[in-house]
């Protein structure tokens, strides 16, 4: 092949830019703001029972985002986040009751108690990988639960009542907790969104695909994982504090139960791993099912387990993954797209940055 002919024949390349958002993203943004406004206005017309129930929904949304951040983006399948949820709950009591601070403020400080445990724990359990890492996270949760259960100062096995919250006027507490929970859910979503758009987010994608390769290309794997680990612990702590505000009673068995992990796992498996939209969809579905089926308790959990196993085996990308595959919808502009300037000035169906083709051992 002689090259001069080739150069003459090539057409001028179209202009292009790398963009994150499309027109759809802008529509979604407007819709989201509208939904949030409606949710924020709920206390004006809803009953207390409804708002208390919605707190559960918001905490599930936030929890699922954190669990997915760890498992779907950083490859850290934690089955021990309940350690930090429980620490947050006890943190509320510690800061609100014992230290006497305003409970609404205490909620955000309680997350720091979770971080105080998560930080020293990280270098230990990061030595474990895969399933052994997962069990390691559970060991941490068990240690915290056992210690809290054994110490009289924290109320031992029977726990404590969060008096600083209980003493608030009922309307203030219920409305305040509702808005707090809404803020935490939104905060969790935005946190994940901005984290993924940052350099850490890029590092995470590399780590998720192949962390040894990522390390050799200069990505500080430990630091990226640590950031995600600490962020998730903090938010889980805040979630725990919000739950404690809602329930007013904290007990080690309930605060540190593995069921937290189970709920998060179900939601993410059903909704979809590795996307922001997936856990939101999953939380909506899970919560809707919860309303109608929770009376069946054990049977409900059994069915969820079966659904989770089937979906994780057969449809690992979840319901959202199915939607993406069929209609190529992305609500959150997280990935970078190649946008060509065509004469019609429309966004061309973008060539999404492809994942690495499955590499063979040798060619």
């Amino acid at each position: 092949m002689s090259t001069p002919d080739v150069a003459k024949a090539a057409p001028a390349l179209p202009g292009f830019r790398i963009s994150r958002s499309t027109r759809m993203h802008k529509i979604v943004l407007v819709l989201s703001v509208a939904i949030i406004a409606v949710l924020a206005a709920v206390p004006l017309f809803a009953e207390n029972a409804f708002m208390r129930n919605m707190v559960t929904f918001f905490t599930l949304v936030a929890l699922a985002q954190m669990w997915n951040l760890l498992a779907g983006y950083a490859g850290l399948v934690s089955i021990g986040q309940q350690a930090y949820i429980g620490l947050g709950a006890y943190g509320l009591w510690l800061i609100g009751d014992v230290l006497g601070l305003n409970p609404f403020l205490a909620v955000f400080l309680a997350g720091l108690l979770a971080v105080a445990v998560a930080l020293p724990v990280a270098p230990l359990i990061f030595r474990l990988r895969g399933g052994y890492f997962s069990i390691g996270t559970w060991v941490i949760a068990e240690v915290v639960r056992l210690i809290v259960s054994n110490i009289q100062a924290t109320g031992g096995g029977s726990g404590k009542t969060v008096l600083s919250a209980a003493r608030l006027p009922i309307e203030t507490r219920i409305t305040g907790t509702y808005l707090l929970a809404l803020a935490v859910a939104l905060g969790a979503i935005l946190l994940v969104y901005f984290l993924l758009r940052s350099r850490t987010g890029l590092a995470l994608t590399a780590i998720r695909d192949n962390d040894i390769a990522a390390q050799s290309s200069g990505v500080n794997v430990f630091r990226s994982k640590l950031i995600v680990w600490v962020v998730a612990a903090y938010v889980c702590g805040v979630i725990g504090a919000v739950v404690a505000m809602n329930l007013l009673r904290i007990q080690p068995a309930a605060a540190f139960t593995i069921n937290w992990t189970a709920y998060a796992l179900f939601i993410v498996v059903i909704g979809g791993f590795g996307t922001i939209e997936g856990p939101i969809i999953g939380a909506v579905i899970y919560f809707a099912l919860l309303q109608s089926l929770s009376q069946y308790g054990t049977l409900y959990m059994l069915l969820l387990g079966i659904v989770a196993v089937i979906m994780a085996t057969v449809a690992p990308k979840g319901i959202w993954g199915f939607i993406v595959k069929k209609w190529d919808i992305h609500l959150f502009p997280v990935s970078r797209r190649l946008v060509l300037d065509t004469p019609a000035d429309q966004d061309v169906k973008p060539a999404e940055k492809p994942g690495p083709a499955p590499m063979a051992e040798s060619v």
Binding site: P354, A357, P358, M359, A360, S362
Partner: protein
């Protein structure tokens, strides 16, 4: 008229979106030693892996004694008489040399090859039988890997880059052993980057470039200029 042991018909192989082989076709007769040369990434290893069953053709067929074998997974092909010595040796490091050889016989056929006859072919293995395979040198591992494949009493022996990473004196010894194999009635497919040695033992050679055969023929009939051109695609 000699039997056609192996035939490839228009074989395409993809790794995800990447196409490694483009409509590859050729025939190998019984007792023949067929060499595949070419630069890295040309598709030679993919070819052997496909014949061995580790890779499935996206289209086209692999025929063994005239019958298509594409539906058979790799672990059944050993029992049919196809044995691959994979690229990079791939020994079992926590097994001893003897145990590695015994593994070769695990799914193989009955025949003359056993630990003793393998050691006869590669005397350097004799003192190493009890040693962990992970502690062997490259040349020792290569000899063992070839012996391991022979333990299955194959009809078709596939050798992938056996000289890779070995010192010249070691390569010489491996090829000396291979000359004995060539004479013993096996059909052998050899993949090599090092052209020099392999042409001396083979009856037929094909050069691979970017997934296609760019040149083929008997070594005696091909000039070194033609081979070089086909090798580098000039």
């Amino acid at each position: 008229m000699t039997d056609v042991v192996l035939e490839l018909q228009d074989v395409d192989v993809f790794y995800g979106d990447f196409q490694a082989l483009f409509k590859v076709s050729f025939q190998v007769e019984d007792g023949m030693t067929f060499a595949f040369i070419g630069a890295n990434g040309g598709g030679k290893s993919t070819l052997l892996r496909t014949i061995a069953g580790l890779q499935r053709p996206t289209s086209g067929h692999v025929l063994f004694h005239g019958e298509p074998v594409d539906q058979y997974p790799a672990h059944t092909r050993v029992g049919m008489g196809i044995a691959l010595v994979p690229e990079g040796r791939r020994v079992f490091p926590s097994l001893t040399v003897r145990e590695n050889l015994l593994m070769g016989a695990y799914g193989g056929r009955k025949g003359d090859w056993n630990v003793d006859s393998v050691v006869e072919l590669f005397p350097l293995l004799k003192p190493l039988l009890k040693r962990g395979a992970g502690s062997l040198s490259g040349g020792e591992q290569q000899a063992m890997a070839i012996g391991r494949a022979l333990m299955s009493n194959p009809e078709l022996l596939l050798l992938d880059e056996v000289s890779l990473g070995l010192a010249p004196v070691v390569i010489k010894r491996i090829y000396e052993a291979m000359v004995q194999l060539v004479g013993s009635g096996h059909t052998i497919l050899v993949v090599e980057q090092d052209v020099g040695h392999v042409l001396t033992v083979s009856d037929y050679v094909a050069c691979f470039l970017e997934g296609r055969i760019s040149l083929e023929g008997k070594p005696a009939d091909l000039s070194s200029e033609a081979i070089t051109a086909a090798y580098f695609g000039m």
